[in-house]
C-alpha cells in the first residue's frame, strides 16, 4: 500500500491554504450569519503563515512539520479556530511521530488523534453544530474504508464526502458551542463555518495526499 510522504503532507497543507484563500469571503459570510464575521479571515491569516513556514523551512520528520504547523496556527489565528486547528495539527504530529512518511492506516490514526485534540480543547459533542460534526464523520469514514480494504485515494474520497455531508448536516442543527450558540433557535438553518473549513481540509487531503 502506498505511503504518504512528507512532500504530500506539505502539498495537503498548501492545498488547504489555497482552498481557504478561495473560500475566505464565503467562510466569513457564513460566520456573519451566526458568528462574528471573521472565520475566513482568521483561517486565511493562519494558513498564509503556514505557507510561509513551508516556503522557508525544511522538514524531515512528520512530527516536526505538524508541530510547527500547529504552533503557527496557535500563534497566528486566535479566536476559537486557532486553538482548535492548532491542537488538531499538534496532536496529529505527535501521533504520527518521528517518521518521514505515513502509511494509510497510520494516517488514519493521526486523523483520529487530531480529532481527539479538538474534543479535548473544545469539548464539542455530536450535533453541537461545530467543526466536530464534519471532522468526526470524515475521520470515521476514512478509517472504516481503510479497515475494509480500500485504497488510500478511495478512502480519502470517502472522508471528503463524509465531511461534506457532515458540513451540510450542521444546517438544521441548533448550535450549542461557540458563538453561534448565543443565537439559540436563530442558529437553525445556517451552515457552520468551522464545519465548512473542515470540509475543505478533507477536500484538500483527497486532492493532495494520494
Amino acid at each position: 500500500m502506498a505511503a504518504v510522504r512528507l512532500h504530500s503532507l506539505q502539498a495537503w497543507l498548501r492545498e488547504f491554504a489555497k482552498l481557504i484563500a478561495e473560500n475566505k469571503d464565503y467562510l466569513t459570510q457564513l460566520d456573519s450569519a451566526i458568528g462574528d464575521a471573521d472565520h475566513g479571515i482568521n483561517m486565511d491569516r493562519g494558513m498564509r503563515a503556514v505557507v510561509t513556514v513551508l516556503d522557508n523551512e525544511e522538514f524531515t520528520r512528520v512530527a516536526d512539520l505538524f508541530n510547527k504547523v500547529g504552533m503557527t496556527l496557535v500563534s497566528s489565528v486566535g479566536g476559537a479556530a486557532g486553538p482548535l486547528y492548532g491542537t488538531y495539527f499538534l496532536r496529529f504530529g505527535i501521533n504520527a511521530g518521528d517518521v518521514a512518511e505515513l502509511n494509510a492506516a497510520r494516517l488514519g490514526e493521526a486523523f483520529l488523534a487530531g480529532l481527539e485534540g479538538v474534543v479535548a480543547r473544545g469539548k464539542p459533542e455530536p450535533g453541537d453544530k461545530t467543526m466536530f460534526d464534519a471532522m468526526a464523520p470524515a475521520t470515521s469514514a476514512y478509517n472504516a474504508a481503510i479497515d475494509s480494504g480500500h485504497e488510500l485515494a478511495g478512502a480519502l474520497q470517502q472522508a471528503r464526502a463524509a465531511a461534506e455531508q457532515g458540513r451540510d448536516d450542521t444546517i438544521p442543527m441548533l448550535a450549542k458551542k461557540g458563538r453561534a450558540s448565543y443565537l439559540g433557535e436563530r442558529s437553525i438553518g445556517h451552515q457552520d463555518p468551522g464545519a465548512t473549513s473542515t470540509a475543505l481540509l478533507f477536500a484538500a487531503a483527497a486532492a493532495a495526499l494520494p
Binding site: 466569513t28 456573519s32 450569519a33 451566526i34 458568528g35 462574528d36 464575521a37 471573521d38 479571515i41 482568521n42 491569516r45 496557535v74 500563534s75 497566528s76 489565528v77 486566535g78 479566536g79 476559537a80 479556530a81 486557532g82 486553538p83 482548535l84 480543547r121 473544545g122 459533542e125 450549542k176 458551542k177 461557540g178 458563538r179 450558540s181 448565543y182 443565537l183 439559540g184 436563530r186
Partner: protein, 332 residues
C-alpha cells in the same frame, strides 16, 4: 467602508503605534502586540492581565495602568489574541506573586487563555483565571458555551485592579473577581451593525425601523429583532431581564453603567441613562455609583448596553480607589 484606516490587516498594529505615541506612560511590544504599564512588573503586586479581540476600545488596552491592568493583549478585530501574547505578558508582569487572567467567556478567549496558562504554569508561574459571563441575553447552561462576558469586564478590571494595588494575593483576587462577576449582569441592543474592517461590509442588516435586542459586542446577531422602540421602551427591554436575573431586591444598591456600542452619541447615552435611572427608582433600587459612555464597544455599532453591579462597601471602595489609565482616570 467608512473607516480611518490604511489597510484592513494593519489596523490593530497601527492603532498600537498611536497608543504608544499618545501614552508615553505605557510600553508597547509591537511584535507580539502587547500593551504594558511602563513600570511592570510592579514589585509586591499580583499581575493582572486581560486581552481579547480588538474593536472594543477602550477595552482592554485603555485600561492598562495603575489601579487596573498590568498588560493587555489585543487580538485581531473581534478575534481572541493568541497564547503567545498572553504567555509573554504573563511572564513580564509576574513579580513573583502570580498573575491573574481576566477572561471574557467566549470559546476562543477561553481556549487561548487556557493554553497560555498551561504554558505559564509549565514555566513555574502561578496563574489563575477569572471569567466574566454577565450577558443575560444568552441562556446559561452547562452544555453550551454559556453567557458572554461583556460590561462587567470593565468593572471587574477596575475593582480587581484596585485590590491588586492593595497587595492582595492571587487567590484573594480570583475570589474577588468571582464575587464581582456573580454580582453583575448586562444586556445590550443595537440599532445598526458594525463593519469588521477585514470583512468590509456590515455583519448583519437591520431595516431602518428595526432594532436587535440581546446583541453581543462582536456584531453577533442578538436574541430577537423587533420594531425600533423609543428610548423608554428600549430601557425597559434591556433592564428588566438584568434586574430579573439577579434578582435584585428593593433597597439593593448598584453601580449603574450605561455603555455605548461606539456609534451612538453621548447625548443619547445620557438620555438612556435617565430612562434607566427612572426604572431603577421605580423598582426601589438605589444607584450608588454610575458610569456613562463608550467603555466596551463594538466598533461603530449604534446601540447601548446596561450593566448593573450590586455594590457593597468593599466594591464601592475599590471602585472609588485611584486609577490612572487612558480609559478611566481619577484619584491621581
Amino acid at each position: 467602508m467608512k473607516k480611518l484606516i490604511n489597510a484592513p490587516d494593519a489596523v490593530v498594529g497601527e492603532a498600537l503605534l498611536g497608543m504608544e505615541a499618545a501614552h508615553p506612560e505605557l510600553v508597547v511590544d509591537h511584535e507580539l502586540q502587547i500593551i504594558y504599564r511602563g513600570d511592570a512588573p510592579v514589585a509586591g503586586k499580583v499581575g493582572v492581565i486581560s486581552g481579547g479581540g480588538s474593536g472594543h476600545e477602550p477595552m482592554h488596552g485603555g485600561y492598562v495602568g495603575m489601579g487596573m491592568l498590568d498588560a493587555a493583549c489585543p487580538g485581531a478585530v473581534f478575534t481572541s489574541p493568541t497564547p503567545d501574547q498572553m504567555l509573554a505578558a504573563t511572564k513580564k508582569v509576574d513579580a513573583g506573586r502570580g498573575v491573574l487572567h481576566v477572561v471574557k467567556n467566549y470559546t476562543g478567549d477561553i481556549m487561548n487563555f487556557e493554553m497560555a496558562a498551561e504554558l505559564a504554569v509549565a514555566e513555574g508561574i502561578e496563574v489563575k483565571s477569572v471569567i466574566t459571563n454577565d450577558d443575560v441575553a444568552v441562556e446559561d447552561s452547562l452544555y453550551t458555551a454559556g453567557r458572554r462576558g461583556v460590561g462587567v469586564t470593565v468593572l471587574l478590571e477596575k475593582t480587581v485592579g484596585a485590590a491588586a494595588e492593595q497587595g492582595r494575593s492571587l487567590d484573594e483576587l480570583a475570589a474577588l473577581g468571582e464575587k464581582v462577576n456573580s454580582n453583575g449582569r448586562s444586556m445590550g441592543m443595537a440599532l445598526t451593525s458594525c463593519i469588521v474592517p477585514a470583512a468590509g461590509s456590515p455583519t448583519f442588516d437591520l431595516g431602518d425601523d428595526e432594532m436587535e435586542i440581546g446583541i453581543g459586542i462582536h456584531g453577533e446577531p442578538g436574541r430577537y429583532r423587533e420594531p425600533r422602540g423609543t428610548a423608554a421602551e428600549i430601557a425597559e427591554r434591556i433592564l428588566a431581564p438584568v434586574v430579573g436575573d439577579f434578582p435584585l431586591q428593593r433597597g439593593d444598591t448598584v453601580l449603574a453603567f450605561v455603555n455605548g456600542m461606539g456609534g451612538t452619541p453621548l447625548l443619547e447615552l445620557y438620555l438612556m441613562y435617565g430612562e434607566i435611572a427612572k426604572l431603577l427608582d421605580a423598582r426601589g433600587i438605589q444607584i450608588g455609583r454610575s458610569l456613562v459612555g463608550n467603555y466596551i464597544t463594538s466598533l461603530e455599532m449604534a446601540g447601548c448596553s446596561v450593566t448593573l453591579l450590586r455594590l457593597d462597601d468593599e466594591l464601592t471602595e475599590l471602585w472609588d480607589a485611584p486609577v490612572n489609565t487612558p480609559g478611566l482616570r481619577w484619584g491621581v
